[in-house]
């Protein structure tokens, strides 16, 4: 459908003002909201994510596209809700206790929303207990943790250990990221995945969410 392609292309170019009229046009053409979401908005964001992954575009372009996606979602959201369409899953995200840096975490949250996930953003300075409680209360499939300091990294292990203690490891997966964190550290503490940057983090969450479906 031509209009869906136009939506995706408009989103890819970061045209925040251009996306909503196209979404409305698609609706008047009789296309169901879920199709507009999947084949228009998310398809566009997937292309943006891939271009970012291979360094064809850089971060501000991704964020402009995400903002255009939000503008399109503003039109679709009430219709998706009334049609009972669910998201790709819920993800609890936050910067760990003691850490006030949240830009990286915010960017991952934006990209996850762009990929169709429902994000419960706990902000910064989040304790292990708060991560696990929020994941349980919101029926989240994945917990995403960010740390910028070596001194706050141990909180990530506390979350992993707490999930094990509560026998939730299979039901709630963990992904970690941040400047001092590495794939080795993820393995060391028993986290399920590591995201080097926001594109990798989104790819990791997609895999983890699919694994616990």
């Amino acid at each position: 459908m031509k209009i869906l392609k136009q939506i995706a292309q408009c989103l890819e170019s970061g045209d925040e003002a251009g996306v909503p009229p196209l979404v409305r046009q698609a609706l008047t053409e009789g296309i169901v909201p879920k199709t507009i979401l999947d084949d228009g908005l998310i398809a566009g964001m997937n292309t943006v994510g891939e271009k970012f992954r291979v360094h064809d575009i850089f971060l501000p372009d991704v964020l402009l596209a995400a903002k255009a996606m939000y503008a399109g979602m503003d039109v679709l959201k009430p219709l998706l809700l009334s049609a009972g369409v669910s998201s790709r899953g819920r993800v609890v995200i936050g910067s760990v206790q003691g850490d006030l840096h949240d830009i990286g975490k915010n960017l991952v949250a934006i990209m996850l929303k762009g990929a169709g996930f429902e994000v419960i953003d706990l902000g910064n300075d989040v304790s292990a207990e708060k991560f696990v409680t929020a994941a349980k209360n919101n029926d989240a499939r994945v917990i995403g943790m960010s740390a910028l300091l070596t001194t706050t990294m141990p909180v990530m292990k506390e979350v992993v250990d707490l999930l094990k203690k509560e026998s939730l490891s299979g039901k709630i997966k963990t992904i970690i990221g941040g400047a001092p964190v590495s794939q080795n550290y993820a393995g060391e503490i028993g986290a399920d995945a590591y995201g080097y940057d926001c594109a990798q983090a989104v790819a990791g969450v997609k895999k983890l969410a699919a694994a616990v479906q």
Binding site: I57, P60, A66, H101, T151
Partner: protein, 232 residues
């Protein structure tokens, strides 16, 4: 007091693009260029740069350096500072307003502009360290009738110097006077702040060739290049 004129702190466009991940040799999109221009305007409006610098004796700094006794067993700074001609504790902030602006941009879903402003403010805070280094070098040169020394800023939280040393650094320097506070994890607020010790002496004292265990986890190993480039 060191003067931090805003034009000296404002980062080059290319540096901001690089910090945001633009591949070397690539050109930013027109929309991204427009974002940077808006971010630089906001930077000029919201920045409130303030710095604090105070000389400290070698034995007093040895106590600050040891902090809570949580440093790595061996660190470059441990070998560098005893050979310094002078030491100065240093703290600098871009002010609370710019951090609040970044937060507010994210809260209102203007995250593209927020992330560019964040990159601009981080680079400006780093640049303030270089401004301080050069200021100390000029002071030192005047005292020594033009003899050339090099000053470098070393900060807790890097290269084996444990971040908990911030506690003693703050107790001596009192950066609260310029609005910087520490939280229980020894992080500074406002976020766009830097602190540390300015070590001044012959260029040679800053050079080292050892590879320390913590170097394996370092994602931006520019320390040796920095010492080499400026001492050349």
């Amino acid at each position: 007091m060191i003067d931090f004129p805003l034009p000296r702190l404002q980062p080059q466009e290319a540096a901001v693009y690089a910090a945001l991940g633009l591949k070397s040799g690539s050109r930013p999109s027109p929309r991204s260029s427009a974002l940077l221009l808006r971010a630089l305007e906001l930077f000029k409006i919201c920045s409130e740069p303030l710095g604090l610098c105070a000389a400290i004796a070698l034995d007093e700094f040895a106590d600050v350096f040891s902090g809570q006794g949580r440093n790595a067993p061996d660190t470059p700074l441990k070998k560098i500072f005893p050979r310094a001609d002078s030491l100065h504790l240093f703290a600098f902030t871009m002010g609370a307003r710019i951090s609040e602006e970044i937060k507010s941009l994210f809260a209102s879903d203007d995250f593209a502009l927020g992330s560019v402003l964040d990159a601009v403010a981080s680079l400006a805070a780093d640049q303030a360290g270089r401004v301080a280094e050069e200021w100390i070098e000029r002071q030192d040169a005047m005292q020594k009738n033009g003899a050339l020394s090099r000053a470098f800023l070393y900060s807790p939280g890097y290269c084996g110097w444990h971040i908990s040393a911030q506690e003693k650094l703050f107790a001596r320097l009192r950066p609260e006077k310029i609005g910087i506070t520490l939280n229980e994890s020894f992080l500074m607020s406002p976020l766009k702040s830097i602190s540390g010790v300015l070590v001044t002496g012959p260029a040679l004292i800053h050079q080292f060739s050892e590879v320390y265990p913590f170097c394996a986890h370092c994602k931006s190993p520019a320390c040796r290049e920095r010492g080499m480039a400026r001492s050349a």
